[in-house]
Amino acid sequence: MTGIVAQICLNSVVAGLTVSLVAIGFTYIFRVTRVFHLAHGAVYIAGAFSFWWALSQSLGWVGSAAMALSVATILGYIFEKTVYSPLRRNQTNQSISLIASMGLYVVIVNALALLFGNDNKTILDPVTGTIEIGSIILTRVQLIQTVVGITTIAAFFLYLKFTKSNLAMRAVSDNETISKAYGINTEKERTRVFIAGSILACIAAILRTIEVGVDPHAGMGITLTAAVIAILVSRLNALLVIAFTIVLTLLQNTVEWFLDAQWRDGITFLILLVAILFRTEGIISYNLRKDRA
């Protein structure tokens, strides 16, 4: 039993690291731009399919990853510039950008399904092999996911620490108008956060693709989990996002082990519902939200 618990914990930490890449991107986009970016799932899937396709065309791991990152970055940039930015200039509210985001998601997912089919695609030359540490088994894919996940998160922290972007993003998140008055280029910060979020989502997509493959509809589930984290954390703090994601993944894996895989989403969203209704300001924040009925 101890072995099983340890294995579940390890699997949750590794999976949580991957999911947290999507969650950090989603949280930063949501908090900085106020866009509930469901199309983040479309960016994720587009990145995964680009990687899978490039790999099947013998572009190699590095070439395929570079192609996937380019596609995801361009997509995130196009979404912001052609849809979200004009909507913001028209002073539309969050619900409108949510609807636009749903539309973008539907378009991209169905376009990918049209191009590649609805079935699950796995890579031709998968990474195999395991490492045994006592009674715990770590697959080589999990090792890659852990190393790449930690490296990416470290790079993101370094980016926040050594550039002015972190402060600027916080300022825009707090008050966009005052940020503009103090000379911050808010448009640039918004674009940056969309690009950074898309890159993080794409890396997560690549890490998931080498493990389980990709199908066109796999993006919504992971994006919704990221959305739950964004609401629960309600702060622009990547460390908290990572911690919450790992705890949530642990809970999901426990539910999956003891009940059924299909209950995991139900339990996740029950937590979201309770948080929205009874802890409306999020679990961490102390500022009351202004949109209570």
Binding site: L98, V106, F269, L272
Partner: protein, 289 residues
């Protein structure tokens, strides 16, 4: 001919769903991502009462609608607590919880295998089990709901519902309870979606959880937003576009496998373009803000 009648039945079901979503989105300003829950509750309660308890459609119908009203009370509690984006997210959560429950509660819903053998309604010994008779039966329901809205949109109650949508503080200042008007609106919406669910269950004679997913809720919302929220013509035209689009694609010699995805691409694109350039929708009266 049968195919044309089959399309007519689907159109009627989606018109009912669109009008029900319009009640929440267009008249109350509550952007719901869980309209498929009421659709599913109506369908599942009907299916369970008919197949497991052996009762007729006419007994299943009021029980299904009553269950929808109870579910609507949960939604109105949420609408009383949060609004705007957070209301949408709460409904999204309910939609996913509903799917999990329906999928996993195998002893009642038969889980992923669904419920088969749902018998058709009967009126005075005449069984409604052909596409033609169903198209007529569904048509009667649509006419009833449309006539209801022709009357309802002019009532003081509807004006108060719209006032709650537009300015909740003003409604409070008149000494009225905004939550009461939201509750009434959500109940009306739930009942109409429940009727669509009972129709679908008895027409298809088989239901499973895949018909009541988040995708379905997004689709119903999209139909209203594309057609236009707030009136009667908008939701009906949205449903017409959604149902007739694949027929137009077939006319262009597009194979079925491509047409299904192409329909969703066009629909998604329409949604983005409408939000961007014509936020009221094609025939809408209310600008969602």
């Amino acid at each position: 001919m049968n195919y044309f009648l089959h399309i007519s039945v689907l159109l009627e079901i989606y018109i009912l769903l669109a009008l029900s979503a319009n009640q929440k989105v267009g008249l109350s300003g509550l952007l719901t991502l869980a309209q498929a829950v009421f659709y599913g509750v109506g369908a599942y309660v009907t299916a369970i009462i008919i197949t497991k308890l052996g009762f007729s459609y006419w007994l299943a119908l009021p029980v299904a609608l009553l269950t929808c009203v109870l579910a609507a009370l949960v939604f109105s509690f949420i609408a009383g607590k949060v609004r705007d984006l957070y209301f949408s997210l709460a409904t999204l959560a309910i939609q996913i919880i509903f799917f999990s429950v329906v999928y996993n509660w195998v002893s009642i819903t038969n889980g992923p295998y669904g419920i088969a053998g749902i018998s058709s309604p009967e009126i005075l010994g005449f069984k409604i089990n052909t596409p033609g008779s169903f198209a007529l039966f569904g048509g009667v329901w649509v006419i009833c709901v449309v006539l209801f809205y022709v009357w309802f949109l002019k009532t003081p109650l509807c004006r108060m519902i719209q006032a709650t949508r537009d300015d909740q503080i003003a409604v409070l200042s008149l000494g009225k309870d905004p939550n009461y008007y939201k509750r009434v609106s959500i109940i009306i919406s739930a009942v109409i979606a429940g009727v669509a669910g009972t129709l679908y269950a008895t027409y298809a004679t088989y239901i499973d959880p895949s018909s009541f997913t988040l995708d379905e809720s997004i689709l119903i919302l999209s139909i209203v937003l594309i057609g236009g929220a707030g009136g009667i013509i908008g939701p009906i035209s949205g449903a017409l576009i959604y149902i007739l689009l694949p027929e137009a694609l077939k006319f262009m010699q597009m194979p079925d496998s491509v047409a299904a995805n192409m329909r969703m691409i066009i629909f998604g694109l329409l949604l983005v373009l409408i939000v961007r350039f014509k936020p009221k929708g094609i025939f809408g009266k209310y600008l969602i803000q």
